[in-house]
């Protein structure tokens, strides 16, 4: 029996590369599946959401402008850091989702592998969804995928870590920046993810993580004129409808919630392409001589 005092962790938000408390000063109690108290998490307000959007917008130029290769390296580094904290995540996921240690371990392993998988996609997605188009004229016609901008992500409510990674990694892999609303009931793995992101070369503001009441934070984000897209994975049917209406105002890209029973299944590229826009460039092949050929 040790006579050490317990050192409790203060969970904080992750915004703009820093760890602020909620602007409102509020917290709420996070419990495990048996209603035992785990920790207090910040209860974010709409102003926290606004600040997160400002941070995400500021980070967008640098992150979207970084080479795909560099983004891949950074994301892989995140996976390395996750691996080093595996035990902590197993503990948090087991507590949050009421899983046995080995089941929680499977979830964490799958999440880290998922992160590595998306890290590999950063410099390959352009070859899959972009390309040269044959056109009837003396032009090259090239399509290339471009990130949409600032994406609000409502993380899945049930799968607190694997689900979270499965929605955040595809958004940032292609050069978007994200404002993430953690699972309302189980935000602790998400808030700990912020600590990993802060120590893995990911520029501050690329991912911003908020905890609190999903509806309260998502509503101002959906109507925010400087948010370009929203992923409604963590919204129930009623909230999703409301948010989609609010999001229509500035023509946000909306990814509707899809029922996912098993986040471990292979994800495909859909979550990446949902937040890509295709830029098409027409480029003359050269001046056409009288002979009709440029070459």
């Amino acid at each position: 029996m040790s006579d050490r005092l317990t050192v409790l962790k203060t969970y904080k938000l992750y915004v703009g590369g820093k760890f602020p408390r909620s602007e409102s000063g509020r917290v709420y109690e996070v419990t495990d599946s048996k209603q035992n108290w785990l920790a207090n998490a910040p209860l974010s307000s709409r102003k926290d959401a606004r600040d997160a959007v400002v941070a995400a917008r500021k980070a967008f130029g640098g992150w979207s402008g970084a080479t795909a290769y560099n983004r891949g390296q950074v994301l892989y580094r995140v996976a390395e850091m996750l691996e080093g904290r595996r035990d902590q995540y197993v503990r948090e996921v087991a507590g949050a989702e009421g899983l046995s240690k080995s089941k929680a371990g499977d979830q964490v392993d799958a999440a880290i592998d998922r992160w590595v998988w998306y890290a590999g996609w950063t410099d390959k997605i352009a070859q899959v969804v972009g390309g040269g188009n044959p056109v009837a004229g003396p032009f090259f016609n090239l399509s290339s995928p471009e990130p949409t901008g600032v994406v609000a992500v409502l993380a899945p409510q049930k799968s607190s870590f694997l689900g979270l990674v499965s929605v955040v990694a595809p958004v940032i892999a292609t050069g978007n920046t994200a404002v993430v609303i953690a699972s309302e009931k189980s935000p602790l793995p998400a808030l700990s993810l912020g600590e990993v992101l802060a120590t893995s070369d990911l520029p501050g503001g690329v991912v911003n993580i908020l905890s609190g009441r999903t509806a309260e934070i998502a509503t101002p984000l959906a109507s925010h004129q400087d948010v370009n897209a929203i992923d409604l994975a963590g919204a129930d049917e009623e909230l999703a409808k409301e948010l989609e209406i609010a999001a229509a105002d500035n023509l946000k890209r909306v990814l509707r919630p899809q029922s996912v029973d098993n986040w471990s299944a292979a994800p495909g590229t859909d979550r990446m392409t949902a937040f890509l826009e295709t830029k098409t460039v027409w480029h003359p092949t050269g001046s056409l001589g009288a002979s009709g050929s440029a070459y």
């Binding site: 606004r50 959007v53 917008r57 101002p220 109507s223 925010h224 004129q225 400087d226 948010v227 609010a246 105002d249």
Partner: protein, 317 residues
Amino acid sequence: MPSTAPNALSDVTASDSTLRRFLHGLPGVDAVGLEARAASLGTRSIKTTAKAYAIDLAISMVDLTTLEGADTPGKVRALGAKAVRPDPTDRTAPSTAAVCVYPDMVATAKEAVAGSDVKVASVATAFPAGRAPIAVKLADVREAVAAGADEIDMVIDRGAFLAGNYRKVYDEITAVKEACGTSARLKVIFETGELSTYDNIRRASWLGMLAGADFIKTSTGKVAVNATPANTLLMLEAVRDFRDRTGVQVGVKPAGGIRTTKDAVKFLVLVNETVGEDWLDSHWFRFGASSLLNDLLMQRQKLATGRYSGPDYVTVD
């Protein structure tokens, strides 16, 4: 301070030594108290209708500024159009107080704001360093006034001030004031970031007002430290005390570093709490700023529509 006749200070400026004795006789500034006072006034919560009023008031007080070597006539015209109608999607948004440009751009700016109440302010006297012979400085001012400038923003000779040569600074301001004639109001820039101490800022404020400044202005926006709540509070106290002693009201213009609506509202609280409503008017208080206006407009849109706005909905300057 006791209230005395308006000419009570005339003997102060009679000679170099009386001027020095007066300026060094001013009470020292309690730096900690000043900063604490400015900080505590910055914690006021201004919401809903009061915020809407403050935003519109702040917009009407902005001296929309472009002072870059790369200024083109096109940029100045765009700035003028923006000053007249800051938010083209909302005609209830007030115009700004003025546009502020370099002297050679005054004519262009004047044309751009023609037909509106927006004034044209011009920096002069070898802005921002102020390191030029007096003849050049005065020529600079005359050119700007001749081109139609309604307001002249001059910089003081900080070198002379810091060397203790107050009389030289005083004479320069009076000469520039004379060159402004009756048509242009004179703003005197102290560049508070280069004056080192709060005591110096208080002295400079009094020196400027004694010499006939219509406005005292914190800084050029070209150095590391520009307008702060503390140095603006200090200058507001100076104009308040000056009016108590002489009956002459002088305006205040913080410039540089004020970028957000929150900051601007803090300054308005300082004004209201220090000198009162007499100064809550664009004739007596101004913000020297460029990016501030966009933030004010975004906040205004937020209040009007209930949703957060973004930089896509204001101009790129």
